[in-house]
């Protein structure tokens, strides 16, 4: 067990290093210069050179790379070029919006998709199933910026019930959740649609298996068969997808963040890329990679809990 854990940890570290190195190399290939994006159109060459020197960008890429790696090893992601703030501070602040947004959206999506998916699977081929899968398809194809604007017009402009956007911070939980409600619904809609179809498909596959027929033949109630016997096995791929979805949502909420004016990680990624803010981009890639690696570890251990046949002895 300990050997396995150590192995996984080393593997995780290698993955992180690889992700960080790839991010560094990719940025060398893209045209653009952070100094120009900071100083703008009319800046003089002297000013540009002075800033370049100050930022350490006059050094060769290998020197910058090693300097950065040493820094990261000491737990320091450096300073953002554009924001002139520690990268960790910036990412932390943005995660305080994006993590709850992603988590609540997935929670809502799952809460909606679970009963609907099960219902669709049980009614497979019938009118209700067609209606539900049709709706899910609609939820998938509706672009989130459009849904977001529609919700803003309905709930903020016409009904005046909810704020049209912005985020006042977490000083008041109630106010913060109030501001997150519409964004969460917008993100959840697309995710719920996807999950409904996933749950339906996964459950249908399991329901066709022999042990289900046996369970039914034993005379167990349909509810017992679906929730106790089928769901447990159908849950494995769904848990995997949820884990990946969560990691993806950390940056995929950028459209919703823009529409609702939320200071999230997605917009930070976009700004960092536009400004060629190397330390910030590399920092975000590293943090995201760490999240994905951690989520993978968690899902792997969840498998053990869900399926006793899996073990890492």
């Amino acid at each position: 067990m300990w050997g396995y854990l150590l192995g996984r940890l080393l593997q995780a570290l290698f993955t992180l290093w690889l992700a960080a190195t790839l991010a560094f190399l990719a940025l060398l290939l893209v045209p653009g210069d952070p100094v120009q994006t900071i100083l703008g159109l009319e800046a003089s060459p002297e000013a540009e050179n002075a800033l370049r020197e100050q930022l350490g960008l006059n050094q060769t890429p290998p020197v910058r790379y090693i300097h950065w790696l040493v820094q990261v090893a000491q737990g320091n992601l450096g300073n953002s070029i554009r924001y002139e703030q520690p990268v960790t501070e910036l990412i932390g602040a943005r995660l305080s919006v994006t993590l709850p947004l992603a988590f609540l959206s997935l929670l809502l999506a799952t809460a909606v998709a679970l009963p609907l998916g099960v219902l669709a699977a049980k009614q497979a081929g019938r009118t209700l199933d067609l209606l539900l899968t049709g709706l899910a398809l609609l939820g998938l194809v509706l672009p989130s910026f459009w849904v977001g604007l529609l919700l803003i017009y309905l709930f903020a402009v016409h009904l005046g019930l909810l704020p049209s956007g912005g985020f006042p911070g977490w000083s008041s939980l109630k106010v913060a959740l109030f501001h997150l409600l519409l964004p969460v619904v917008t993100v959840a809609l697309g995710r719920a649609a996807l999950l409904t179809r996933m749950i339906r498909g996964s459950l249908l596959e399991v329901l066709a298996q022999d042990y289900i027929r046996t369970a039914r033949a034993k005379g167990l109630s349909e509810r017992w068969v679906v929730y106790k016997h089928a769901m447990r096995n159908a849950a494995l791929p769904i848990v995997t997808v949820l884990g990946l979805e969560f990691a993806q949502l950390l940056t995929a909420t950028v459209v919703v963040e823009t529409v609702f004016g939320l200071p999230g990680l997605g917009t930070l990624v976009l700004t960092a890329l536009e400004a060629r803010d190397y330390p910030l981009i590399q920092g975000i890639v590293l943090v995201l990679a760490a999240f994905i690696v951690a989520l993978n570890l968690v899902t792997d251990f969840l498998y053990v809990l869900l399926d006793p046949r899996v073990s890492y002895a």
Partner: protein, 503 residues
């Protein structure tokens, strides 16, 4: 019964009363908060630390001021300097500073602050933006606590204008690093906080030197990156003003809403189709002239900008001084365009082909570019459109001049001097222009300088260096009750000094 005298007194009293009532009705009401949407978050808040225009929009004359400033009409008026002696021909300028002015942190404003500021500004190694504006300063000294003497190496026509730019704002002596994120100035508003990703808060500075100003108690600049979300927030009452970046489509929407008010004015932005004068095909002036004849600017403005914007014909905006209207210098004449192209060796068998590079972050420049390409197609020119994102545009087109044609808005005021630099991305190399520009900038006589400025504009049009499409409109939307907003943008500034709630 009234006696004649009583009647006279009565009429006088009535007049006084009426005047008072009327006066009160028109008096600017004090107090309240104004929430203003801002499209992008700037990297810092000090205009002398970054050229991001969002900084000037929020800070210029609201929080930070210089010796002089630009007013709504684009005139240079006193700010921290009460008066000054000097002229474009002068090598010595004497500024008498306003007395009793305090910074927001309580420190007294003196000549020492000014000396520190401009010694830093003219040092190219200091990290100050645009040291070139201050290059002609030979020395700066404090004659006494409230008199500053600046000596120039050579006369500079734009010296005072440069002192009115956002770069020239003055903070407390020695305060440089902190100024980037917590600006301290002498303006009517005091900086309160900057919530990253959310917005910037200001509040009324009670110690402001102009009595009675400002009217508002608090200001919140909120970062709202999506133009459609801005309109929704304005309609929902979550913000009060969209101070910039209102699209023409949304402007029409605002016009139809009785709760909202649309402000239409001018900017200093010339939307410019840049041509690489050093590379084929645009190293041939006949080709550049053909392009001018092939495009109908009025139609473009109508079609893409829904009628908002003014056609121009050179690199200067109608709102700036010494402007000449050259928008008709080349008539819209497709036949003439074809003839010029033929003369240059292009025709049906050998059509003119080139790449037209568009910058992704500017949707209206992009649409104008697409419309221009369509107009060029009509005279047999094949412009291949290519969209690149901002950092690529900056390094490839602007810095490397590795392009053939592009389109961008040049928003800097009073910037015709860029054409005297042969390595600027237009790669316009004209000794005639450089001589003429020197005659303008070093001219001791303002009237003659103004004539030179007009000649400069004509020379650019004659050489057809670029295709200048239009002066960008200034479009702002606000709640009907918001009064005192600047009509024009002679410099980027969402100026709040005289803004009030009229309710």
């Amino acid at each position: 019964m009234f006696s004649v005298r009583d009647k006279e007194v009565f009429v006088k009293k009535l007049a006084c009363l009426l005047l008072l009532v009327f006066g009160l009705a028109h008096a600017q009401t004090r107090g309240g908060e104004l929430r203003v949407a801002i499209l992008a978050e700037p990297p810092v808040l000090d205009p002398s630390a970054s050229t991001s225009q969002e900084i000037a929009r929020m800070m210029y004359d609201n929080v930070l001021q210089g010796l002089v400033k630009l007013n709504e009409k684009g005139e240079i008026v006193p700010a921290l300097a009460e008066k000054w002696q000097g002229s474009p021909s002068s090598l010595t300028w004497v500024f008498n500073l306003r007395k009793g002015v305090r910074f927001h942190n309580g420190a007294a404003f003196t000549a020492e602050d000014v000396v520190f500021k401009f010694n830093r500004a003219r040092d190219p190694r200091s990290g100050h933006t645009n040291p070139a504006y201050y290059r002609d300063i030979a020395s700066i000294e404090a004659r006494d606590s409230h008199t500053v003497v600046i000596r120039l190496r050579q006369p500079n026509q734009d010296f005072l204008f440069n002192l009115a730019r956002p770069d020239s704002v003055i903070g407390p002596k020695g305060r440089v690093e902190e100024q980037r994120t917590q600006p301290v100035g002498t303006g009517p508003f005091r900086f309160v906080s900057w919530e990253r990703g959310v917005g910037v808060r200001l509040e009324r500075f009670d110690g402001y030197y102009e009595p009675g100003l400002p009217y508002l108690d608090r200001v919140f600049f909120r970062f709202l990156p999506d133009p459609n979300a801005q309109i929704a927030a304005l309609k929902a009452g979550d913000i009060d003003v969209i101070g910039l970046g209102l699209s023409p489509e949304n402007a029409l929407l605002v016009q139809r809403d009785s709760n909202l008010r649309l402000v239409v004015g001018t900017t200093t932005t010339e939307i410019t189709v840049g041509m690489n004068n050093a590379r084929p095909p645009f190293n041939d002036p006949r080709v550049r002239r053909a392009i001018q004849h092939a495009v109908d600017k009025k139609e473009l403005i109508q079609g893409v900008m829904l009628g908002f914007g003014t056609p121009i014909g050179s690199h200067r905006s109608p709102a700036e001084s010494c402007y000449v209207d050259l928008s008709g210098f080349y008539s819209y004449d497709p036949a003439k365009a074809r003839a010029l192209l033929q003369e240059a060796g292009y025709g049906a068998g050998n059509p003119l082909r080139f790449t037209f590079t568009l910058a992704a972050p500017y949707p209206y420049e992009r649409r104008l570019g697409e419309a221009i390409a369509a107009k060029l197609q009509a005279v047999g020119v094949q412009a291949q459109l290519e969209v690149v994102e901002w950092a690529t545009w900056l390094s490839r087109v602007f810095r490397g001049a590795d392009y053939q044609m592009t389109i961008i808005g040049h928003s800097e005021p009073n910037d015709i001097g860029i054409y005297s630099n042969p390595s600027y991305y237009f790669r316009y190399n004209s000794q005639k222009f450089r001589d003429l520009y020197a005659r303008y900038i070093r001219n001791p006589d303002p009237k003659q300088a103004c004539e030179s400025m007009k000649e400069l504009q004509r020379l650019l049009a004659e050489d057809a260096v670029n295709l200048w499409v239009m002066n960008s409109p200034y479009l702002a939307a606000m709640r009907r009750e918001v009064a005192g907003w600047w009509q024009n943008q002679p410099t980027p500034s969402l100026n709040l000094t005289r803004v009030y709630w009229n309710r």
